[in-house]
Symmetry: C2
Subunit: 576 residues, 2 copies
């Protein structure tokens, strides 16, 4: 029987409760957004007692479905002021599901200055003092927790940025090797965790069991078809495994959509040096790991291990968006420097996109020069120290732009844009503008169709049709995020209809439902409606669904294009 | 014939144009808001080429009406993201009106890194390079301009904060003695001026003439009745002259509504030491000036001159809100320190309310201790130097709260609250929540009725009726701001019906209209509607018309009250 675990920080009480009717049948982003929308006052201070932080495995969590172990984290975002769901790999999602917990809800204000850790085990949860972890980065935090709890656990934690309550703070999750390299990065949910006084969560999987299935045979059959789809598609079988998500550097550079030096060009002369092909080569040379999955049950295995020239572990393979944020976007072409920065970001617990974008904005503001890798490393280190400069950067791109008087600040709803220029990849530009999450590629990855020609090809440079495309991707994504599946499965399911049907079949077999593909899509629509309604109550309207005006005025080389999707088209995305 | 002066910074062209039909009959806030609402894309970057900065005298500007020389400055605010009008005393309003200029509109983006000064004279305007003024504070800027242009001019300028494009930057105007002590302080319009590359405006009044009057005799008669009202009311005749606006310290402290240590108490144990009575006494002892008007035609004369212990000029009398922001709100009880900080704020060109509030928030965040006057002075000095810390503070209270991870941040729409706790003065709390300007006392000074019992007494602690009260004040204020009258005349016109009628009579006599009091009020309503519509298009809705939730939860000593005006009441304020 699945439960909700409520943790009240005001009195440090911990209780398991039955899942209320209104949350029945929801998972992942579906349940985090439902709880936040229903229980959090939309106009509240995101760092105050009225906000809640929700952790939830997806509908397929705890099963043998490939790549079904994502964990959703939700709350009101201190970065955007709107609702936020940011999901992560690592082990926590599967462990939570196998413990029969559909959601953990952290609520209330903790006693001032106190830190806690939450231990979640089979039918039991404890909130314990954790003042000894104060000021530690995620790596040291996990090391201390492993000393205490052993290496059979999963861990979630915040670094210094979360303790400082900074709006770019992430929540870190450990991978299978207990490295805190998987993050719910976007939207500052690490600061919400910090505001609750929770430094870490320990997931003890012992005694856990696979999620019950209404029709085990049907599930097994569908899971097999699903895995077959992933194994057959070139992106999910080979591309991501060999080159990581960084495979996209050369592709976006070729397409003229790789934002360079704070979105002033769509091509970077140093792209090759930071591309996935180079990452693969360096990793092979240094005997790092290629084809590494970040969570049990992953068959895509995009998260390689990056070693330094001395063969010592630096970090997991930096994601494409990380390489972009600190590479092309800062004019930096040094993969080693980027990997070291990625390691620091993981350790301090900050979103690599948000803070990398902030660094580029600071470069434009004259704080340091584009291309100054050493300068960037030095400044990132200041985040962990909590200096004024470090705090500015970890407050995000909008704040950094404000403090340094920068006019070109690539944010929507206060969140920085990721690694696809909306002028040259217009479908994702529509997603940036309209998703309730603030600028976010994962919320509606129209890049797949615009650039990768997955699920049908569309012209990235033409305005027409992008709104409908983004809508379709946003709906599908909300469903995938609710299922608890890694978003990368989308490459396969978009091209292989039976793989998509297999997802629906797995859900049906698990719950004894008889959903059609339309019902699955309807779940995505429902999640989006809930999120948009929350944002409307929080103070957002269509005026917030706009890109910064420089994207409408400044032509992006090499295509010399502006973002010209009409406001009417943008406002049509939620017409469903 | 009145004209609009348009200055295009992109090509540095300057032209006088006839007033378009849609701007006819508008003045002050009425015309700045009309131009901004009509000509500025609401979702644009406030520091980019699509924003405009408008300067305008009021409808009664250029006449002999007492206290009619206010100048309105309007634009999209880089602090709030909404529309902004912030008006100021000093000489510029009267000079502009006497030159026959109804509005100056600065538009377009200047060449990067260049600074200009605008010289406005009779039927002539010139835009000239001003790179020699780069980096200067307002005092040095004006000194250099006086050297060049003589002492018969009026000056508007920005200090370092405006050049840095910081969201708390003000526009300074010189008083009759050519001191840059009068400011359009709120909402960061100094940063907009900086973004236009305009360091200063020189107003040359030579050849100017009084505004033409349709019925000079009727005007004279009405102006006399108006002046009589001001002379008869104790606040406008004696109170403000003898004690400055700082007279309010003891009154608000007595009422339990003086926000202390970042809005954690309504009374300050050191109030007496920073009160207007003390200010008067110190000024008398040091032979400073009491009863000093900041602009020609002022009969209220609240802006005394503050001297140091050595008899040397420090600053004008700090306003009540300035004394509060840096005094009780920071736990500081040292008037000399406050006056020195006020001088620095005037020099760097920053809003004393916004940055004082930011300092208190930084104190709560642990940057320094409440009461540390020397520490605060040192940090304010960093604004002029453009250090990271100085930039954070001059980015305003919301940014400072964000960077230092503070949960109690007293802002609405990103603008800091002034010197009246909304829990103990609920009428002004409604104004904070609902005015299109962001938290602002001047937008609807319900304090007059709640606390001063002017224009009828209302209970400040009772929620009922405050929405209607705030509405009435907001409407009246928008009318007064459009007339170009100093808001302090409101004390007299609220209590003396004939003084209010005299304002309407003066407008009628000047323009040949036959307005009733209702027509005058309708003008105020129209201005508010225009502003609210702009904000709606910029992305605001009712969710933005809320106070930070701590005001609804934390009881304010000594009355132990929360802000309990209902959302329904707040949402009724614009029902007209």
């Amino acid at each position: 029987m699945f439960k909700i675990l409520r943790v009240n920080m005001a009195d440090q009480s911990v209780k398991f409760e039955d899942i209320a009717d209104e949350y029945q049948g929801l998972g992942g982003r579906g349940i985090t957004s439902a709880i936040v929308a229903r229980e959090v006052e939309p106009t509240c201070n995101a760092l105050g007692p009225l906000n809640k932080l929700v952790f939830a495995p997806g509908l397929l969590g705890g099963t043998s479905a490939a790549n079904s172990g994502r964990i959703s984290v939700g709350g009101k975002s201190p970065l955007t002021g709107g609702i936020k769901e940011s999901n992560s790999g690592g082990q926590a999602g599967q462990y939570l599901a196998k413990l029969g917990i559909q959601a953990i809800v952290l609520e209330g204000d903790p006693p001032a200055g106190k830190l806690f850790k939450l231990v979640v085990a089979k039918d039991e949860a404890k909130l314990l003092p954790a003042d000894d972890l104060k000021g530690l980065g995620n790596y040291d935090t996990v090391a201390k927790l492993v000393d205490e709890y052993g290496d059979k656990m999963g861990f979630a934690s915040i670094g210094q940025a979360g303790e400082f309550l900074l709006p770019a703070a992430s929540v870190a999750f450990t991978d299978r090797e207990l490295r805190p390299t998987r993050h719910s990065g976007r939207g500052g949910l690490g600061a919400v965790m910090g505001s609750k006084g929770v430094k870490a969560i320990i997931f003890d999987p012992s005694g856990g069991q696979s999620a019950p299935l209404k029709d085990p045979d049907a599930f097994k059959e569908a899971a097999k078809r699903f895995a077959k789809g992933l194994a057959e598609h070139p992106v999910t079988s080979e591309g991501l495994a060999n080159y990581g998500t960084d495979i996209l550097i050369n592709i976006l550079n070729e397409a003229g959509g790789l934002p360079t030096r704070n979105f002033s060009s769509g091509q970077f002369e140093g792209a090759e040096k930071v591309a996935g092909e180079t990452l693969n080569q360096i990793t092979a040379e240094r005997k790092g790991t290629i084809k590494h999955g970040c969570m049990s049950g992953c068959v895509i295995r995009c998260s390689g291990i990056f070693l330094g020239p001395d063969g010592q572990y630096i970090s997991k393979w930096p994601e494409y968006e990380t390489v972009w944020a600190w590479g092309p976007n800062c004019g930096i072409d040094d993969l080693d420097a980027i990997a070291r920065i990625d390691r620091m970001c993981d350790d301090f617990g900050i979103d690599t996109i948000e803070v990398g974008c902030a660094m580029a904005v600071a470069m434009e503001g004259g704080l340091l020069s584009f291309g100054d890798a050493a300068g960037a490393e030095k400044l990132v280190a200041e985040v962990g120290q909590g200096t004024p400069l470090g705090r500015i950067l970890a407050s995000g791109t909008a704040t950094t732009g404000r403090v340094f008087g920068v006019k070109r600040v690539p944010t929507v709803k206060g969140q920085s844009m990721p690694a696809y220029d909306p002028r040259a990849v217009k479908g994702v530009g529509v997603t940036y503008a309209t998703t309730p999450m603030g600028a976010d590629h994962t919320a509606g990855y129209a890049v797949a169709s615009n650039i990768l020609k997955v699920g049908g090809a569309t012209d990235p440079l033409v305005a027409e049709g992008q709104a409908a495309l983004s809508q379709a991707f946003q709906v599908a994504t909300a469903a995938i995020d609710s299922a608890g599946l890694c978003l990368f499965i989308a490459f396969a399911v978009l091209d292989i209809p039976d793989a998509n049907q297999a997802v629906v079949d797995m859900i049906n077999a698990k719950f004894g439902w008889s959903w059609t593909g339309d019902d699955y899509g309807a779940m995505g629509q429902k999640v989006l409606k809930i999120e948009r309604d929350f944002n409307q109550r929080a103070g957002f309207n269509q005026g917030d669904d706009r890109l910064p005006d420089f994207f409408l005025r400044e032509k992006l080389p090499p295509h010399d294009v502006v973002f010209d999707v009409s406001n009417e088209d943008l406002d049509s995305v939620f017409d469903f």
